[in-house]
């Protein structure tokens, strides 16, 4: 279950997966708030990833740690149950939400069997009409365009 480093990478890989397996791949977005560590209930307060070796030896040390100020996490997961492919991306930044939903919208296109086109106007015309011929336009080209454009955006935000 690899976590990809950037949303852009996640988009690129997910696009490829969706193009290969459009009818079985699903995307799950999980927005979760972790519980505040509770001194009276150390087992629950523990983050899931802690090693099992520490469970019995020193449960008292856990409550002493200051609770993290940010407990909310947003995790995107693309999963194809047939091939078992899983792609994940996780963030804690509110600023990324709207862009990530935009990405979800973009990924919905190959999912629906629509070609990936940036010009919305052109697509609307095609979609409203017959729509029967449009899926055949699908190719690898748009994926590359998407990758280039998104990459620049990311740099523009300039996070340190």
């Amino acid at each position: 279950m690899p976590y990809l480093e950037t949303a852009q990478q996640w988009l690129t890989q997910s696009t490829l997966l969706l193009q290969a397996r459009p009818s079985t791949t699903r995307i799950t977005t999980k927005y979760t708030i972790k519980p505040i560590p509770d001194p009276s209930n150390p087992d629950r307060s523990k983050p899931r990833k802690t090693k099992p070796s520490t469970t019995s030896s020193e449960p008292a040390s856990v409550p002493t740690q200051a609770p993290e100020p940010i407990r909310a996490v947003l995790i995107l997961k693309t999963y194809d149950p047939v091939s078992g492919t899983t792609l994940k991306y996780s963030t804690t930044k509110a600023a990324e939400v709207s862009r990530l939903i935009q990405i979800l919208g973009r990924l919905a296109r190959p999912m629906a069997g629509l070609p990936e086109v940036k010009e919305d106007v052109v697509m609307l015309d095609g979609g409203e009409g017959e729509g029967a011929h449009t899926p055949l336009v699908e190719s690898a080209k748009p994926a590359q365009n998407v990758a280039g454009g998104g990459g620049k955006k990311k740099k523009g935000k300039g996070k340190k």
Partner: protein
């Protein structure tokens, strides 16, 4: 509630309240899923000459959107399940609205930009106080 799909608009209303419900507690999750709605679309498989007919559907397929609060097992009674179907020509509009609802609902995430702007403002003020030549804004 779990019977059948909601209309897109009603889905957004329910999704907002799902986010609000989560906010009332100190922890919890909201799960959103999207996948192709390919139910009873099996006619393509037999008639098509292509090896992978699902790669080139004869017509665009709708998308199924699901939302739950992830309650299961012991808490199954509290489980909230929402679902809606987005037609392929409505994707653009749906996701624009979806983004707004999610942005409003996922309020627990770190608001990076504001804190940074504040720090910068503070730094500026300090500079101004030290230098004294610049005019306050």
């Amino acid at each position: 509630m779990s019977k059948g799909h909601l209309s897109n608009d009603e889905f957004f209303v329910r999704l907002s309240s799902l986010f609000d419900e989560r906010r009332q507690k100190d922890h919890g999750s909201v799960y959103l899923t999207q996948k192709r709605l390919s139910y009873d679309k099996d006619t393509d498989v037999e008639s098509s000459e292509q090896q992978f007919p699902d790669l080139h559907p004869t017509a665009p397929l709708p998308i199924l959107i699901r939302a739950t609060n992830g309650k299961s097992k012991d808490n199954k009674a509290k489980k909230v399940k929402l679902s809606t179907v987005v037609e392929s020509d409505a994707i653009e509009g749906f996701f624009a609205k979806y983004a707004e609802v999610c942005k409003g609902g996922m309020s627990g995430l770190k608001k990076r930009d504001r804190s940074k702007a504040k720090e910068k403002l503070k730094a500026k003020k300090r500079k101004q106080a030290a230098g004294g030549d610049e005019v306050k804004k």
